[in-house]
């Protein structure tokens, strides 16, 4: 049996998640440097920056497995900053975890704080103190999308590694390996469609592959496209098109539908609208006006107003803008 495959899992992202440095595709320079740090059995605090699905979490787990071998679970804590409610919870968990001594030869434990850029600057200040207080018995691996969102004092305490978006050929290697193992046949153009649909996110690519393979083991581009079309959230554009055409009632019905069925928050909708303005066929002057209004509405929503009322007010402005167009 292939030792590098986790036969316990039916989810391919987990089944084929790399367990050793040699199995990680792409990011070759980073892998080499991190590997040599790890093999020396002493790592500094690490900061992994880069887009989603390029191997940040995977590498963190490889590091702890290499460090602690069979006792890695006892010496490793994974937290996700964007889910933990406030820094206090993080500190609480960090403290409880760091307080006890590490098991085994390595004199420290490892905490992986994913999406650390989700923490506010104040929370990051608090985190920095926590990192200092427990530095003797605890190493932090932080991950983020943009290192610029991490405050300088934390950056200066970490070795920073910038992950690149995975190239098509890296994703291809991963998918080919899985296809071979799962007895799938893949049309050569499939890769292109999957890569497009996943925006270079490896985890998403694998999920797309597995969802498609459930339909048929012989995978062609059409099959992938059909699968993806089923999962695509309804577009904010439809909402705006109705408004611009003067059909306010349909516009807001679609909006409510979108917000409820896809559970999209008011803030996310405003964000999407703000971006969509640039794709609309309207005068530059009106684009600016709408952006002003959008900004005001976003502000009101963040202040705790009722998002649906505020968004209706925004849609009414789009109705007005549509009039100017005619």
């Amino acid at each position: 049996m292939d030792k590098e495959i986790d036969h316990d899992s039916s989810i391919w992202t987990e089944k084929y998640r790399p367990k050793e440095f040699s199995e990680v595709f792409g990011q070759n320079d980073i892998i080499k440097r991190v590997e040599s740090l790890t093999k020396a059995m002493n790592i500094p605090h690490l900061l992994f920056a880069g887009p989603a699905g390029v191997g940040k979490s995977t590498l963190a787990i490889v590091v702890v497995k290499e460090l602690f071998k069979s006792t890695w679970r006892e010496n490793y804590l994974e937290l996700n900053a964007s889910d933990e409610r406030g820094i206090n919870v993080v500190r609480e968990k960090v403290k409880n975890f760091a307080r006890t001594k590490s098991l085994g030869k390595v004199p420290f434990k490892v905490i992986f704080l994913d999406e650390a850029d989700a923490l506010t600057p104040e929370a990051q200040q608090a985190l920095r103190r926590t990192m200092e207080n427990y530095s003797s018995g605890c190493r932090f691996i932080l991950s983020c999308n943009y290192s610029s969102k991490i405050i300088d004092p934390i950056q200066s305490r970490c070795a920073i590694f910038r992950f690149k978006l995975l190239e098509k050929k890296d994703i291809e290697k991963v998918l080919q390996k899985i296809a071979k193992n799962e007895n799938l046949t893949m049309h050569p153009d499939v890769l292109e469609v999957i890569y497009e649909g996943s925006e270079g996110d490896c985890r998403r690519s694998i999920n797309i592959l597995q969802s498609t393979a459930a339909i048929s083991p012989s995978i062609n581009p059409e099959l992938v496209s059909t699968m993806l079309a089923n999962t695509k959230p309804k577009d904010i554009k439809v909402v705006l098109d109705y408004a611009l055409a003067g059909d306010f009632e349909n516009s807001r019905e679609k909006l409510l539908d979108l917000m409820l069925k896809e559970s999209i928050s008011g803030q996310e909708v405003v964000k999407a609208i703000q971006k969509e303005i640039w794709n609309l066929q309207i005068e530059p002057e009106i684009k600016v006006k709408l952006t002003e209004k959008t900004g005001e509405i976003e502000f009101r929503i963040t202040e705790g107003s009722d998002p649906f009322i505020q968004l209706q007010s925004l849609l009414a402005s789009f109705v007005l803008a549509g009039l100017g167009k005619k």
């Binding site: 889910d83 069925k261 007010s313 009039l323």
Partner: protein, 392 residues
């Protein structure tokens, strides 16, 4: 006469409905006391069972209960005086003791020293302390959070509420029409105590009167429709300002009615203006809640009545069939589904090392993935409700 809410107060853990997780956590807390934490904060909306849970914990462990609440705790000194002896003293007859501090977020309103003092007392308490609050995450309670286990009590599902009401009615040998029961259960939004109280009040009515209460609802509807006619059809006069005075309806609900019906009356520029007014009103509404400054209501009222009417350059005589607001119901129904979606996302996120937020965002594909292989739900340990949601 005791109220039903008192009479049917839960006594043991098994009587507490819909809070399995919280029950497990408080059991665990008391079993481990004082190894982990010396206090636990139970938080959740009114009527979800926080106080009942504390009392049940006392009953189950055969402990006496020492209870303090908003009325007997005002400041630091008072706290020292009453609470300190209680946490030191040996309980009579060597029984255990549970210290209950009810509504801790209200107790310490003005007095910041109070929270500090309480926080110090927690450290030396020889008995488990149970604090209840509506929201554990306010700034005020920050000093306590570190020292407490924090447990959320969820809003009760309407089905659970209805079930409790039916059982009580059966014991009381009373009858309420099924439709009315459903309405009570949904309307009280997870507050079981309020639901039981409503139920008791209505049960006293004859069955004709029960139907009449339904009519009362309808009368209310006529009133608001009348008011809408005034603000949407007639020119603004000072009289317009009093439009909503005679109506027995909360501003929040009035806003929903207006929100729903603006597009039936106004188009284009007027539509935008009307929603701008509504948006301003909503802004003031938020400020009232945040600052508890109720004078802002004046502005809300002006915008909603005179403001809306000011868009009419002359009196209109056409008839418009106004619609009932539906979005609250839609949201409520949808929330029931979102709960499943969230719990599935949580399980997947943990398993695949991503955030719950991201899993929620990618849910469509995750749903496909989970449905693709019957072993996956098993691997993620999904329950029946979650499975049903995925299939639906």
């Amino acid at each position: 006469m005791t109220t039903w809410a008192e009479k049917y107060r839960p006594i043991y853990f098994e009587d507490i409905r819909g809070q399995e997780e919280a029950v497990a956590k408080i059991k665990d807390f008391i079993k481990n006391f004082p190894l982990k934490k010396r206090a636990i904060i139970l938080y959740g909306h009114t009527g979800t069972g926080k106080t009942a849970l504390a009392h049940a914990a006392a009953k189950e462990t055969n402990s006496e209960i020492f209870e303090l609440n908003a009325s007997n705790l005002r400041n630091k000194e008072k706290l020292k005086e009453t609470l300190k002896p209680a946490i030191e003293q040996q309980a009579l007859l060597k029984k255990g003791k549970i210290i209950l501090i009810d509504e801790v977020d209200w107790v310490m309103g003005e007095d910041r020293g109070g929270i500090q003092e309480l926080s110090e007392l927690i450290e030396i308490s020889e008995y488990p302390m149970v604090l209840t609050a509506n929201d554990a995450w306010t700034k005020k309670l920050a000093p306590l959070r570190k020292k407490c286990e924090i447990v959320e009590l969820k809003d009760l599902d309407y089905k659970i509420i209805k079930d409790v009401l039916i059982k009580i009615l059966r014991k009381e040998k009373k009858f309420i029409d099924n439709k009315i029961l459903t309405e009570i259960s949904v309307k009280t939004k997870g507050d079981l105590r309020a639901a039981i109280n409503d139920c008791q009040t209505i049960s006293k009515l004859s069955s004709e009167d029960q139907i009449k209460t339904l009519f009362d609802e309808r009368n209310k509807e006529e009133d608001i429709l009348d008011a809408l006619k005034k603000i949407f059809k007639l020119k603004a006069t000072n009289e317009t300002l009093r439009t909503f005075d005679q109506i027995d309806m909360k501003t929040d609900e009035i806003i929903l009615w207006i929100e729903k019906n603006i597009p039936l009356e106004y188009q284009d520029k007027k539509l935008a203006k009307a929603y701008e007014l509504l948006s301003e009103t909503d802004l003031f509404n938020g400020r009232i809640y945040k600052q508890q400054y109720w004078r802002f209501l004046v502005y809300e009222n002006i915008f909603l009545s005179y403001g809306m009417a000011s868009l009419n350059k002359e009196n209109k005589t056409n008839f418009t069939k106004y619609k009932k607001p539906t979005r609250v119901l839609k949201i409520w129904m949808n929330n029931q589904k979102t709960i499943q979606k969230k719990s599935i996302s949580e399980k997947y996120a943990k398993h695949s090392h991503i955030s719950i937020k991201k899993a929620m965002k990618e849910f469509p594909i995750i749903k496909q993935l989970i449905n693709s292989n019957p072993k996956i739900p098993e691997e993620l340990d999904l329950n029946e409700d979650e499975m049903a949601y995925l299939k639906g």
